[in-house]
Symmetry: C3
Subunit: 468 residues, 3 copies
């Protein structure tokens, strides 16, 4: 098979334009401004004394912008570590996420934000939730990085976003769990979804590595831009949709301290497990962030500052050890090729986050530490004061994992159909398959490198045509 | 002529220091804190119950910081795509914008913010407006990138900022148009100004290209930092000075969705118009953002979420097609050499934004969708309830274009005077003309590359002296 | 001696893990949520009408995030200018700062935020203050960049943070100075501390330079990411902990204008002092920011907009001249090897900031410009209306300098003990000493460069063993 440029030239634009037209129509039918962004509705609120300063915009918008940076700069640049795949890392993130935001607005709206008139009413909270949803798509993308075409990624994103909304509805609405920072719905679901897809799309030809599946000096520095911005804004991520006031405040504190512990311990374990005691950039770029992932559910709860350090310590340790010892085993034994190591950064820390949330929630009602604020943090207790919320939290974690694994397996088989022009092994991990790429030598003024790349590409194409 | 290093060494410092002294004197005479930043004035407000939380700082400052990032990181890094012009792209942005902010504070202050005592009273709103103004200078810089000296850019910026303030006064004060995100005053004015300057400074020697007018692999990744930050914070740009409350909220929503559509459609058209179906980095770095430009006027209006998608779709399509087909024609037929393609990203989408604003405003009074909030969004209707505001909006767009074209033409001829030491064609697109530049090979420890560059530079100078 | 990889492999992890365990225990004993993040305490406040919107989170959190970006992206990337030390620049910043934040929370808490029950109560204000404290550690790191191991840096950070908290207590609590943006406590203290350490650790072998103590083209562009983000968010840095309302507003305005002047003048002086009139990236990356440093004390005072321009003008001039003429003298005459030039960016501008603060404060009580807001800006005047606060400010500046010099000298001698495996001169300025480093050639698929680096490293180690 291999990438067929003629087909690709038709399919990508046709799909994107068809999608965009559909979105315009569906937004026209369903999407309206909400109480805080519509002048008719909000005007009355203002008159009754709520006032401009109480507009939800001012409580959420700075956090939204931080989340927005994480999705596009954070995830996008984190994946630029590959030596010849930086265009696709940032560029496919840009494409998938903007595409996904529109579909997520509709899916989450139909499940969650539907008014009595059948309209989806949007405001800053929908923008945060849509960004969250595409975050889970980008996590799954991390496992597949370098091995799928943009068209395949679109066809992974559409069902994943749909399932994300279903899972979110089950976990947050039916089970009424807390999951403000998405340990369960974003990280656990997204990572197991991606790992399942990657398992089905296993490539035996890559089992001994690929010459372009690696970094160069500057690509590793670019990736650190992604890492650091994810680290910086994770306190906003985990607090963005928590109840306003002390809940939001507390979620940011807990995430801040949890991350400091996961960073420190990642440096320790990375050095300890290297035979020369040297640090491994893969660990520093990724495992350092495990403390943010693992605080996604319990962040807004009374997990205490020292509890946050413990969570970060455990998550960072497991994540680093996963990169060092587990990833090779997953690839060789379970045939899961996980380019970015999402099992280590999102699956395991996300699952830990689900457990931490369950334990913290289970002890909440009798802890006395919430006082009269208990039902602010756990609104479900207003209606069901005796609910064993810890058990529900754990159920939510398991549902998220199951939805990810089953959904990812099904989508994986769909993406394996011979209609997709999946890249040949030798076409993997290189931007030349999808981009016009300039040379890399700054002093070189001849157009040779570009032509050479195209030539390589053409030869590959021709070879693959002969093969198929 | 060519760059004369001795003259350059005198002119740049002399101008900058003279300018800075003048600014200190003029600020001393005219600039004071405003009601929200002066303790005397604001203290009384606090006593009458307005309170600290109502300080405009808290409604605008996070948006200001986002705008600030767009101006310096967004515009600065967007222009680093050139292989050997990254220092000047970021560095001249840094210089021009800080220089321009001071002058803009005065010009906008004299026209707009003058108190009854003849003082300009500054607060966060002035900081946003000064940043907006230098944004239009940086847009014009995009057309000239690589072909002018920093001293020439300073002499372009001074009259452009002056004209910007005049145009802003006409459009916003006399015509009383809405233009919170500047489709008219920032993008249309700035782009046509820059294109007119570029037309006058046409260089026949560059009509067949220049070996350094192109990117290398890593310079394209640097440019994506600019693109993504512009994308991320554009919702803040278009809402930063809208009326607090639902207007500000709505402007951010509309811009968010408009941009998603322009990104998706840019990928589609970029692939469709390439003979191998490959994506072109130039399109992805630029045309993706057209949805933000085109939402600069109507963002705060009831353009509706699906209307925003339509605007983004149209703007992204026209912008990408412009890069592909129109830019070569402009260069060959109209002799407009537009290095960054500002005609495609700012001029056309800005003009579209003006039209969208006019149409949306025209339908506003009878639409019923604003309810009693109509005069919050369109304050002019308080005084003139029957004004046909759509027509005024369109007039504002045309005035902005005309001011840009006429002003740019005049300034272009001034910059063509033989006093400027304009760079020779072979000195274009290289940092070595203005910076001490290190080598590019990481392993190279010899100082040879640096010396070689200087030698080249000296030779060029000597040659040009012989020529002239 | 030289770096002993076996020792290093044991020491770094052992220290980090021991530290992290200790932090968990100490946080468990001492650290609790504060009134704004604890549901019990804040709930009552809400009932008494303070309301969610008055939670300190909403007045400080956006500023905190800006400060957070400055510490990790700003300082981290500013130091990536070295051609082969980018991993350590960003990576050691990441490690030191997360490590330091935990220790700073405790030290500052014990001195400042201890409740009547002996508990440290944390909220967003503690997060800002902890970030500030590690900022001073990163300033000191700048002088030592390339010449110390991560383990040495940890042992520098621990006593420095302790001393920082002591000095902060003396300056802000005992002397009751104003220093919201830390000209005295962050910049003056941190810089003189680092310079003193560097003096004691003087390396004669580096007096004629080092082949890797320099930049390459792309490393200079990476460094500009740090510079620009520091520039952008410095208004937040200097206003983050000022009194809410007009004080915070004014501090951001003053810093904004001060920085524009220091940028413009740095370009002028940089060009003027080069024999070809060319700009020097070292000046642009650093001296441009002097206006932010020098506004760290007086930012919240009535320094006036034109006063801010004057301060930026002076600070930028002195800083650029320092880089050009003073740094070589410090190295040759005083034997202070200052890799990043912190004497020029932090020591001198910080000291200037202290003087500006003293003068502005001295004139405040009788100026009449503060009106009834005088005691908001200078709370000490409530208790001691006749205090000569200018003198106290100057005393605070001198104390900060003295604490830095004395503390740094002592710590320097501790770091000179023969137990530390300090890198040999030839091991300096290269990531290979601490990191697994990939090759730098994008087209190179062989693992040769990496092996070569390791080989060099091994050879160095063996040589140094022979030597010692």
């Amino acid at each position: 098979m291999g990438i067929n440029p003629t087909m690709y030239r038709i399919r990508l634009p046709a799909l994107a334009i068809f999608f965009q037209f559909s979105m315009i129509v569906l937004f026209g039918v369903f999407v309206r401004y909400n109480d805080f962004s519509d002048p008719t509705l909000s005007y009355e609120k203002n008159l009754t004394g709520e006032g401009v300063a109480k507009n939800e915009f001012y409580f959420r918008y700075p956090s939204f912008q931080d989340v927005h940076v994480m999705i596009f700069i954070g995830f996008g640049f984190l994946m630029t570590f590959l030596k010849r795949y930086g265009f696709t890392s940032v560029g496919a993130t840009f494409f998938l996420a903007t595409f996904g935001i529109q579909w997520a607005t509709l899916m989450q709206g139909w499940f969650w934000h539907l008014g009595p008139d059948g309209k989806i009413r949007v405001g800053v909270i929908n923008m945060i939730n849509a960004d969250f949803c595409v975050g889970s798509v980008l996590i799954a993308f991390g496992a597949l990085l370098g091995k799928t075409t943009p068209v395949q990624l679109l066809f992974m994103a559409l069902p994943q976003i749909t399932l994300y909304a279903v899972n979110e509805y089950i976990v947050l609405h039916l089970l009424r769990c807390n999951d403000a920072g998405g340990s369960m719905t974003i990280h656990t679901f997204g990572a197991y979804f991606g790992l399942a897809v990657s398992r089905v799309l296993y490539r035996p030809g890559l089992k001994d590595g690929h010459p372009k599946n690696g970094s160069v000096y500057h690509s590793d520095v670019f990736a650190m831009i992604g890492t650091i911005f994810l680290f910086l804004f994770w306190p906003s991520f985990n607090s963005a949709i928590s109840a306003a006031g002390n809940d939001q405040h507390r979620a940011s504190i807990n995430t801040y301290y949890s991350l400091t512990a996961s960073v420190v311990v990642t440096y320790a374990i990375s050095s300890l497990t290297d035979k020369h005691g040297k640090l491994d950039m893969v660990h520093i770029q990724n495992a350092t962030l495990a403390g943010g992932v693992a605080m996604g559910t319990a962040g807004e709860m009374m997990v205490t500052p020292y509890g946050s350090l413990i969570v970060g310590f455990i998550a960072g340790t497991i994540s680093t050890l996963g990169f060092k010892y587990l990833s090779p085993l997953l690839a060789s034994k379970l045939k899961i090729q996980d380019t970015c190591g999402i099992h280590n950064l999102h699956a395991m820390p996300g699952f830990i986050g689900g457990i931490v949330g369950a334990v913290t929630a289970a002890t909440a009602p009798n802890s006395g530490t919430y006082g009269p604020g208990l039902t602010d943090t756990f609104p479900v207790l207003k209606e069901y004061p005796d609910r064993r919320i810890g058990g529900y939290q754990m159920a939510g974690t398991m549902v998220s994992m199951a939805m990810g694994l089953v959904g990812g397996t099904i989508v994986g088989f769909l993406l394996k159909l011979p209609i997709w022009d999946s890249p040949e092994d030798e076409e993997c991990f290189q931007d030349e398959s999808y981009w016009e790429v300039p040379g890399s030598d700054e002093e070189d003024h001849s157009p040779a490198p570009k032509d050479r790349n195209n030539q390589d590409f053409q030869m590959t194409i021709e070879n693959s045509k002969v093969d198929s």
